[in-house]
Amino acid sequence: MSALLEIEDLRVTFRTRYGEVTALDSVSMHVNEGETLGVVGESGCGKSITALSVMGLIPSPPGKIAGGSIRLNGEELTTASPARLRAMRGPDAAMIFQEPMTSLNPVFTVGDQIAEAIMLHQKVDKAQALKDAVALLDRVGIPSPETRAKDYPHQLSGGMRQRVMIAMAVSCRPKVLIADEPTTALDVTVQAQIFDLLNEIQRDFGVAIILITHDMGAISEMADRVAVMYAGRVIEDASADDVLDYPQHPYARGLIDCIPALGRDDHRLAEIPGVVPPLHLLGQGCAFADRCAFKQDRCTREKPLLGSHGHHPVACHGIEEARL
């Protein structure tokens, strides 16, 4: 059985003042129907760019998909026409963003914005679309939805706005929903509610979810599988249980070992000493080498590839040492 969404050897480059940099390098991951794929990694490692590539929304210029393939339901997206991509955004793939405060258009009511998404893809009139929008607002847990539908975004809290974004995203029953750090900008108390809502939505709509987050608690609760990214590459890819209980890559171990076993819920990714090297300074070796306690000679010469060295796919030369 082939996966619902398959990303294979995806390469995305950006033109910058340092010349062309590679933001994503042979990124592969897949999502099966109805499951949740967690994507974790420090800021700047390419999570959002991966998501935007699927949506066909890489800002271009300066960015472009320079190689690889993205298949949704077997249909190749990297070569699809702009019109085809537009038709697919909504009914096939939808996305919610990190910044609920700025992701809604300030001059239109939230009801209108949801209704617009519906009318773009379904043959219904405005009145019906607005009715559907109210039903969706109700579905995502917004109290007195008829009144709220007439509100402008600035009249709603961040959590409410993210609920509106979710309502809009699922309005055309997408097969895959990408949630790019949906709770990062929200209050801790609201974060859990949004994750609960995503869980419910998945159960009711049978939608596959790509959950990009720093919240390992949410990953352990929601994700079936996890892809760990570092500096534009996937460095570990396995079931959520495997990654959380037996992280292999030194970077993944750094992330997960720091999380206290109890009360994981509201812990973010732990700090690992050092920083991600900027893209234009990436050499030929492992991008984590400067921060790695298990570095070998080979690590600075050769890029480690994602392969089954041991327990599950990991990109690391020192995997044997790392396990010691």
Binding site: M55, L57, P82, R86, A87, M88, R89, G90, A94, M95, F97, E99, T102, S103, L104, N105, P106, V107, F108, E116, A117, L120, H121, Y152, H154, M165, M168
Partner: protein, 324 residues
């Protein structure tokens, strides 16, 4: 939008007009010589009875504050005195000419906004494209070239090279007995050159402003959201982006209105347009003070009204400001 705001805004407008009236009053008092002679017009060669009746009407024998009171009371009843050159009340004189000026100014304003914004939006679509370069060059030229020069060049062009537009006046003499529709078309025909001359400076400014404003808006998160739900490029540009980019344009449009009216003075003179500007120009040469003051009063009145309307429409256009 609440009533108390509108009332407050109207009150400020009234205060501003009072300031203009006081300024007008001071203008006469500060002019050298006998105010009665000034009012009668220095070219008039007024008789002693005439001066006496002026002193009577303006209360020139009474204390200055009483004179101011009388003057304000007169203006409040729209009595702006008498032009001794025309031997007519100033309000009657202006009443005949304010229509053509309003027609010219509003046409120029609409022309510059609609064309300018359209150019700016097109340019913003490709910030490095040829259209963008054209807008920049055009904006610089349009800004640098004086109105009367543009006017004279257009007159030369259309008077001799391609005589398709009339270059003088507002109506053709030979159509004096034509029906309303024909007359209206005739006025429109006469309107094209002066309106375009007046519009061109502001057109260039609006093009540059809307390009900048659009570029900023196009980078915002809600534009990405619009694309993510499958909106077409046209809807992204002209609905989602322009509605937001229009807000600063609206502010500038309100501020420009005053400049537009003073620009109309020059354009009316160049094209012999029978409006208030032409009257002001002639009256300044004749030192017909009551008429000059009348023009000043009505021009200020138009600016104040335009500013109030701009302010209110700004609040209507931006839901974040409503109800404040």
């Amino acid at each position: 939008m609440n009533t108390s705001y509108i009332l407050r805004r109207l009150f400020y407008g009234l205060l501003l007009m009072l300031g203009v009236v006081v300024l007008n009053f001071l203008l006469i008092r500060l002019a050298p010589g006998d105010p009665a002679v000034v009012i009668a017009g220095e070219m008039g060669g007024a008789t002693e009875e005439m001066l006496e009746s002026i002193r009577e009407e303006y209360g020139l024998n009474k204390p200055v504050l009483t004179q101011l009171g009388i003057y304000i009371a007169n203006v409040a009843q729209f009595d702006l005195g008498e032009s001794f050159f025309f031997n007519q009340p100033v309000t009657t004189l202006i009443g005949h000419r304010i229509g053509p000026t309003i027609l010219l100014v509003i046409t120029a304003q609409l022309l510059s906004i609609v064309l300018g914004v359209f150019l700016g939006v097109i340019a913003a679509r490709k910030p490095n494209g040829p259209m963008s370069a054209f807008v920049s060059v055009f904006a610089t030229i349009g800004y640098a070239v004086p109105v009367f020069w543009t006017g004279i060049m257009l007159i030369i062009l259309f008077a001799s090279v391609v005589p398709i537009f009339p270059v003088e006046g507002m109506q053709s003499v030979k159509l004096r007995d034509a029906g309303f529709f024909v007359k209206a078309l005739d006025v429109l025909h006469h309107l094209i050159l002066p309106a375009f001359t007046l519009a061109i400076i502001y057109l260039a400014q609006y093009a540059r402003l809307s390009r900048a404003s659009m570029l900023e808006v196009l980078g915002s998160d809600y534009i990405r959201t619009a694309r993510a739900k499958g909106a077409s490029e046209g809807s992204v540009l002209f609905k989602h982006a322009l509605r937001n980019a229009a807000l600063p344009i609206l502010t500038v449009a309100g501020l420009q209105f005053g400049n537009l009216i003073s620009g109309a003075l020059l354009v009316e003179t160049v094209f012999n347009w029978p409006g208030m500007g032409r009257l002001a120009f002639d009256s300044i040469l004749r030192r017909d003070y009551p008429t000059i003051m009348g023009v000043l009063f009505f021009a200020s009145f138009m600016v104040v009204v335009a500013n109030i309307l701009t302010d209110l429409s700004y609040r209507l256009a931006d839901p974040r400001l409503r109800g404040r």
